[in-house]
């Protein structure tokens, strides 16, 4: 298991929270909620070690259009980058005002 942390700048506040997914084979769970500080902080716990660059690429892309301040937690059980993107978009849609 590897724990990774990322931070992104945010332009808008967040008022809602959402939980999607499950820590099952090839899947992940995403928790997104209003943060304590005005930025987007992401903590990833993944069962597959050594993929920090791939996580960064996937998250960079998501936060290029998601501009809300948020506390995001990801518990990953070997999801592919495509699956991670879908779950992030799903969570992002649920918290949009």
């Amino acid at each position: 298991m590897e724990t990774l942390n990322f931070e992104y700048e945010a332009k808008q506040p967040l008022t809602r929270r959402a939980h999607v997914g499950v820590v099952g084979s090839g899947d992940l769970e995403v928790l997104i909620e209003p943060p304590d500080k005005p930025a987007a902080n992401v903590r990833v716990r993944t069962s597959v070690d050594g993929y920090a660059q791939v996580w960064k690429a996937v998250l960079d892309r998501f936060f290029s259009h998601f501009e809300h301040a948020a506390r995001v937690e990801i518990n990953d059980f070997g999801a592919t980058p495509g699956m991670v993107t879908l779950r992030l978009e799903q969570a992002g849609e649920l918290v949009k005002p």
Binding site: H19, V22, V23, G24, S25, D27, E29, L31, S47, N75
Partner: protein, 296 residues
């Protein structure tokens, strides 16, 4: 109430429409199952993901935990009556019960007992999708599963406790005892229900004893239909959320049974006396010895 009985009077077109209008319970996750069973708008989760009551033991062993530890506790109303759903998430760690997930169920059962004792009955429904105790949490898991057993026995004096085994994980280990302790047990044909799982038996006794890869054999021995036909389950239903909701409502309406299955010790002694352990016994053979209705 078997799937075939329910369909015999229908035309082919009606059967097709019925099939297409089904909402598969098997394909739902634990939280969706609880939401599907409770009346719309009444779902209220206790100790949900944002309470972050996750397993403290899994990360220490390099395993990613889940924010609800794989158990969803939901209060709400089922057919207008107060209910608490305890749903195990089969996709997380095989639905195994650790210290936290097991305590959530035991705690929910204890709260339901307190309500029952105060004369405000809450219907407890266990959605079981579990391999049993979580091996990584060893004795803590064993202890909490024992607590669940004790709570079901205390609670079922006040209100019928309803267990459901959907599939595809099944229900094994200490939680198969919990399923047997329930006042009423509902199974789907896809369910498997046994103390020791097929893989465990094959590993311990050899492939000559049981081939765990032989699906037809496994389901003929421990599948939902076999368990229903031999009286170890009270209802066999198709994979549909509305059928499950109605079945739970109807079983709850029957109230606390005069005698629980686990109190029928003499019946089970009579059953065991009929079995010759020196010869082979298959699923159809067992149905002959112990047909549905052989008890009570």
């Amino acid at each position: 109430m078997t799937p075939t009985e329910q369909c015999t009077d229908l035309t082919a077109a009606e059967r097709r429409d019925r099939f297409l209008s089904r909402r598969s319970v098997i394909e739902m996750r634990a939280r969706e199952r609880a939401q599907a069973l409770l009346d719309p708008g009444s779902f209220r989760e206790l100790l949900g993901p944002f309470d972050r009551l996750e397993s403290p033991w899994l990360p220490l062993q390099g395993i990613v935990p889940q924010s609800d530890d794989g158990v969803v506790i939901a209060r709400g109303e089922l057919a207008g009556k107060p209910a608490v759903i305890m749903a195990i998430e089969g996709a997380f760690q095989g639905g195994s019960l650790g210290e936290v997930s097991g305590s959530k169920i035991a705690g929910a059962l204890a709260l339901a007992r307190r309500d029952g004792e105060a004369g405000k009955p809450v219907l407890p429904v266990l959605l079981l999708e579990t391999g049993g105790v979580r091996l990584q949490e060893a004795n803590l898991g064993e202890a909490v599963v024992a607590e669940i057993h004790a709570e079901i026995i205390a609670l079922r004096r006040h209100v019928p406790v309803i267990g459901v085994i959907t599939g595809m994980v099944g229900c094994f280990g200490g939680m198969s005892i919990a399923a047997s302790l329930c006042s009423y047990l509902v199974v789907l044909p896809q369910a498997r229900f046994e103390l020791n799982g097929p893989e465990v038996i094959e590993q311990e006794a050899g492939i000559d004893e049981l081939d765990a890869n032989d699906r037809r054999l496994i389901w003929s021995l421990i599948g939902g239909e076999q368990r229903y036909e031999t009286g170890f389950a009270d209802a066999l239903i198709e994979d549909d959320a509305e059928s499950l909701r109605r079945t739970i409502r109807d079983l709850a309406a029957q109230g606390v049974p005069a005698r629980h299955r686990t109190e029928a010790v003499d019946d089970y002694r009579r059953l065991l006396a009929q079995i010759d352990p020196t010869g082979p016994l298959d699923g159809p053979g067992f149905r002959q010895i112990w047909p549905r209705g052989a008890m009570r």
